[in-house]
Each structure stands twice: as C-alpha cells, then as structure tokens.
C-alpha cells in the first residue's frame, strides 16, 4: 500500500470506492433513461418548475457519473469527495422538505425508474453515504491518481 497505510487508509479507500460506486450506478441508470422520467421525479419534490426540473434531470445524472468516476480513480480526491458530499446534502434537503411537507412521493427517483427507494430509506442511505464521503475526504488518498501524481 502507498502513503496512507494501515487500517485508516484502507477504510478511507473503501469509503471512497463505496461512494464512487453508488454515484456511478445512480448516474448511469439515470443517464441511460429518458431525462423526462427523472424530471417528473424531481417535479414531485415541488421545489423547481417543470422546466427547471427537466434541466436538472439532464444535468444531475452526468454530474453523478463524473463525480463517481473521479472519486473511483482518486483524481482531485478531496475536491471530488467534497462535491459528492455537497450533492448529498442537497439531496437530503430535498428529501427532508418532501418528508416535512408530506408530499405524496412513493419513489425518490434516485436510481431511475428501475430501482428507487422510499424517501425515508433514501434519506437514511444518504446519511451513511455522507459519512463515507467525509471519510473519503479525510483519508481517501490510498491508491489514488493524486498519490501517483505526487510520486512523479
């Protein structure tokens, strides 16, 4: 193992890969499906207009995919982990307000139409991911492109 050896380094690496995996999966499933589908899911949160929901539906899957890939490869690891955490906080805010307003959302739209969780489950899952993103931010440098570039 490189620079950050030991249990903490390994835990950071695993956390980074876990967050990356979820982001890549969420991004790909939604990018392969029509944006309108995710757009309707976003509309359900009643925060954005239909037009802006569709714009967001076109953008978010790609942002998730790219963030996941950068995290997996360990490119600008801390920046990628911070961006992932920022996205998760935004998702939590959306889910939280939907929960507080008792909006009739049965599927969050997070993983496309094929496998979306309920609001509560997604909220809890995102909390775990947020903790993992924090771990990746602090100790996710093992086996990263950042580290390899440092060595050169």
């Amino acid at each position: 193992m490189n620079g950050r050896t030991g249990i903490k380094g390994t835990a950071g690496l695993l956390a980074r890969l876990a967050v990356a995996g979820v982001f890549i999966y969420a991004g790909v499933t939604k990018a392969l499906a029509p944006a309108e589908e995710f757009g309707y899911a976003i509309e359900g949160y009643r925060v954005l207009s239909p037009h802006l929901s569709l714009v967001a539906a076109h953008l978010v899957p790609w942002l998730e995919l790219y963030t996941g890939l950068l995290l997996a490869a360990g490119i600008f690891t801390r920046l990628s982990a911070a961006f992932a955490a920022a996205m998760l906080i935004l998702f939590e805010a959306l889910l939280g307000q939907a929960w507080l307003r008792h909006l009739p959302i049965t599927s969050c739209g997070c993983f496309g139409s094929s496998g979306s969780n309920s609001i509560t489950r997604e909220f809890l899952q995102n909390l775990v991911l947020l903790a993992l993103a924090a771990a990746a931010f602090r100790r996710g440098g093992a086996f990263s492109a950042d580290h390899a570039a440092d060595k050169k």
């Binding site: 790909v28 392969l32 499906a33 029509p34 790219y66 950068l70 490119i75 570039a149 440092d150």
Partner: protein, 211 residues
C-alpha cells in the same frame, strides 16, 4: 500557474469524462438502458416469460394495425412464453388524433378494457385517423364496450395520463425509435411485422418456450 501535477490530473479527468460520455451515449443507442414497465393493463403474459417483447406503436399508423394482428397471432401461439408490453409512440406531426387515441385507450385500460378498445381503434383506423375534428368514434367505441364515458374524458385530459404517454415517447426517442411499429424482442430491435415474424420464427429454439 497550474502545476504539472494538476495538469496531469486534469488531463486524466478529461479523458475519463470523455470516454464515459461516449460509452453512455453508445449504450443508449444499443438499447442497453432500462425499460420502464408498462402499466398492468398494457402488459400481457407471464412476467418472467423467456420472450420479452416491447412494442412502440401508434394507433393511427397502418403498419401498426397490420402488426397488431400478427402480434395477436403470436400471443395466441406463444401466450405462455411471451410477456408483451404495449408502449405508445404517437407520431404527433403526421397523425392528429393518435395522442388522443392513446390517452383514451389508456383510460379504457383503467376501466379494464384496454385490449378491446385498442382492437376497435386499430380495426376502424381509417374511419377516425385523419378526421378534421375530434372523431366521434372514440365515444362510440367506449359506449359499445360499456365504458364510463364521462370518466374516460376526464381521465384522457388528466396530467397523469398524458405524462405516462410522454414518458413512453421519451423512452422511445432515447432508444432511437423513429418508425412505428418498433419492437424490442429480448432486447433485439425489429421494425415492422416482417422483422417481428422473422425473429418470432426463432422462438421455438429458445429454452423454456411452450406453445
């Protein structure tokens, strides 16, 4: 000034983003994306059947009418081994009433008679498809099937109904559907009855097929 390290990392990031974008766009064209299930009233046959068929069709299209007969024939023969999902793809620019027909058919479906209403639409397509004003046939068919017409008219204009059709259209667009009827038979594309029957001729060779 950008350090050499950051420049290397930025190049690598750009490469990853470029390659992943191309890969996803290609996967869309190859129909590797998920397909939304049709509502229960538009899906026929066992869910876990060895043959999964999705048809993107338009009630105003003559080729779709022809294909509907062939599809019925296939379901009669392979009904136990085929799961058939009906998807709307109304060609809005050339068929003025196909969106209405799709909406009414879905609303008939909500009252348990999608198949019967769809059959009437296809059988009598020439009577209504190119009408100048909203065809009276939509109501006639509903009444002949003893459907609740006021409920159907309310349903046909409901955002949920139109949303469902729009999602079918968006899904077809992302899969590169540009002609009707287009079938996806276990993921393999077939356009028109000829290609459908060509692929159906191979059903007997598939494992788990029952007639």
């Amino acid at each position: 000034m950008i350090s050499q390290k950051n420049a290397r990392l930025a190049t690598l990031a750009f490469f990853l983003i470029f390659v992943s974008t191309i890969a996803v766009l290609m996967a869309r064209q190859l129909n590797l994306g998920p397909t939304r299930p049709s509502p229960a009233f538009r899906a026929f046959g066992p869910e876990k059947a060895p043959v999964q068929i999705y048809e993107y069709t338009d009630f105003s299209c003559p080729a779709c009418r022809h294909a509907a007969g062939d599809m019925d024939g296939l379901l009669r023969i392979y009904g136990q081994s085929v799961h058939f999902s009906f998807k709307h793809y109304p060609l809005l620019n050339i068929h003025p009433w196909s969106l209405h027909a799709a909406a009414y058919a879905d609303c008939a479906g909500e009252q348990g008679k999608f198949r019967e209403y769809a059959a009437l639409l296809f059988e009598n397509q020439e009577k209504w498809a190119l009408a100048k004003t909203e065809p009276v046939e939509f109501k006639q068919y509903a009444l002949s099937l003893k459907l609740d017409w006021p409920k159907m008219t309310a349903c046909s204009g409901a955002p949920e109904t139109l949303k469902r059709i729009e999602l079918d259209i968006a899904e077809a667009d992302i899969k590169g559907v540009n002609a009707t009827p287009t079938f996806f038979i276990n993921g393999k594309r077939a356009v028109g009855s000829g290609q459908l029957l060509e692929q159906a001729a191979k059903f007997d060779n598939l494992p788990g097929i029952r007639k």
